[in-house]
């Protein structure tokens, strides 16, 4: 386990010599700006209309956290769905392409050193993306008074969603030698997770309430929403920990099986 930072450090450095990292960072910042402006414009429009209608009660209910920041976080976590597969697709595939998997697996590293090192690198990158997301609501504090608690817990939600996506991307990358395939596998798994609550609602569970419950529990969105509402509940945190843990264990099993094939 000592070597997790060693592996992560090399991974991050190679990520930042490739154009992928800069492409993702710029695209993410630009999209962040665009979404933020759209949400701010929409919010102002509401304020304007409600003032015209003299709907004092609704104006009272309107607040920056629930009606601007949350929507923005939601949109940015959707953007992560497209960008994180691009960040993680090279984690294991490039080792196989370089033949460096043979170096890693014949060195005194453990498989956990390798898997957790790579996940740590991807997580650090996700943390950077989350920091970019956080910059935008920070602007609001200059002009208004969004609730700090909700702003931060929502941001925690973005971070945890990103880490979950990264763990899934890590797993997909271990499965194949092709970056394109790794991207697609990640994307498909993420879409499935996104569609799970819809499946539950459509009654695919066939009326068995336990299964519908389970499907809803599996959906990342539901737990993300709780965090956006400012409710930092251990059960939601546990959800993210469990999903990340499961995918990392599966990654370890796949990397190990390459040695045993």
């Amino acid at each position: 386990m000592r070597h997790i930072p060693t592996v992560a450090g090399r991974e991050l450095r190679s990520l930042f010599v490739s154009p992928v990292a800069y492409g993702v960072l710029s695209l993410f910042s630009i999209l962040g700006g665009v979404f933020f402006i759209l949400y701010v414009a929409e919010f102002s429009e509401w304020v304007f209309r409600l003032q015209q209608m003299q709907a004092a009660q609704q104006l009272e209910d309107l607040n920056l956290s629930d009606h601007l920041v949350n929507g923005f976080y939601g949109s940015m976590s959707m953007v992560l769905l497209f960008l994180i597969p691009g960040v993680t697709m090279g984690l294991f595939t490039s080792e196989k392409a370089n033949g460096t998997d043979e170096l890693l697996l014949t060195s005194p590293l453990t498989i956990w050193d390798i898997v957790l090192g790579k996940f740590l690198a991807a997580s650090a990158f996700v943390a950077l993306l989350t920091a970019i997301v956080g910059m935008f609501p920070a602007i609001l504090f200059l002009y208004g008074d969004p609730e700090l608690g909700k702003t931060l817990s929502g941001l925690l939600g973005v971070l945890l969603v990103g880490w979950t996506y990264a763990a899934i991307g890590c797993f997909a990358s271990s499965l194949t030698r092709s970056q394109v395939l790794a991207f697609l596998i990640t994307f498909v798994i993420l879409l499935c997770i996104l569609l799970v609550p819809a499946m539950a609602d459509l009654g695919i569970a066939g009326g068995a309430p336990g299964i519908a419950e389970l499907l809803r529990w599996l959906s990342t969105g539901a737990h993300f929403d709780e965090l956006s509402k400012g409710l930092v509940d251990t059960s939601d945190l546990a959800y993210f920990a469990v999903i990340i843990g499961v995918f990392l264990c599966m990654t370890k099993a796949v990397v190990e099986s390459v040695r045993w094939r």
Binding site: R13, N98, L103, S107, R259
Partner: protein, 253 residues
């Protein structure tokens, strides 16, 4: 230092390595000779812990490759068939990374990297990015990462393949230098694989010939050639004997 005990590897129906055993003592330089597809790479991958044997086991520097896998791997410097390089790293940062993951103690790391760079003649290119290096230099970087930190056992898979004659000569003298260390350098046990006879004659004192996954010959070179026969005759005979054995089998079936 290296003890192979009945190593076998099967890929489905293909028997890549078939019950190979040998024992190599400290300071020996052994040539692992065999035609392409003989099972050299597969055997080396089993010794280095990259592939698990289907049957048998090996003991490297006193550590069983199953029971004490990490210790066994720590004792080996390994050059795979394709040098395992990160093209985007500089030669030096790559070697420093390898030194870290191979547990070279922090205090010795810098010196070990410098020494590997010097021994492999990389002084002029160590600040360059690996992707800009020629094939010959990349092969040397591959050897440099193998010898880094002076592991007691070196396993080199076709160290001169794809190089031009001049580079081949340089790499051979480099390997010969590893086996005959200067003052203060520790003596290393070297196994190198090749399908080139001249290579074995040039660097090794002992040859293990494998063909079709089976060990055919295992003897010091002086002993083999003492009967007046050339290594080439022995080599062709051993590989042919095997081929005819196969033919015989087919005749029986």
């Amino acid at each position: 230092m290296i003890e192979a005990r009945g190593l076998s590897k099967r890929y489905g129906d293909v028997v890549a390595v078939d019950d190979v055993s040998f024992s190599i003592g400290k300071g020996e330089v052994v040539g692992f000779l065999g035609p392409n597809g003989a099972g050299k790479t597969t055997t080396m991958r089993m010794l280095t812990g990259f592939l698990p044997p289907t049957e048998g086991t090996a003991v490297i520097a006193g550590h069983d490759i199953f029971e004490q896998a990490i210790d066994a791997r720590r004792s080996v410097g390994y050059l795979p068939e394709t040098p395992p390089l990160y093209p985007e790293m500089t030669c030096r940062s790559y070697l420093t990374y390898v030194a870290k993951i191979k547990d070279v103690p922090r205090a010795r790391r810098h010196g070990a990297v410098d020494q590997a760079i010097e021994r492999c003649g990389l002084e002029d290119v160590h600040r360059r990015v690996i992707s800009t290096l020629s094939k010959g230099f990349r092969q040397r970087v591959g050897i440099a990462q193998a010898i880094l930190g002076d592991p007691p056992v070196l396993i080199l898979d076709e160290p001169t393949v794809g190089l031009d004659p001049l580079q081949i000569r340089e790499i051979r003298s480099l390997i010969a230098g590893l086996a005959a260390p200067g003052k203060g350098e520790s003596q290393q046990t070297v196994v190198l694989s090749t399908h080139i006879l001249a290579e074995v004659e040039a660097i090794c004192r002992r040859v293990i010939l494998i063909s079709d996954g089976r060990k055919q010959v295992d003897a010091p070179i002086t002993e083999l050639t003492s009967g007046g026969r050339s290594l080439e005759e022995i080599f062709t005979q051993a590989t042919l004997r095997d081929a005819s054995a196969d033919l015989d089998l087919e005749g029986d079936g």
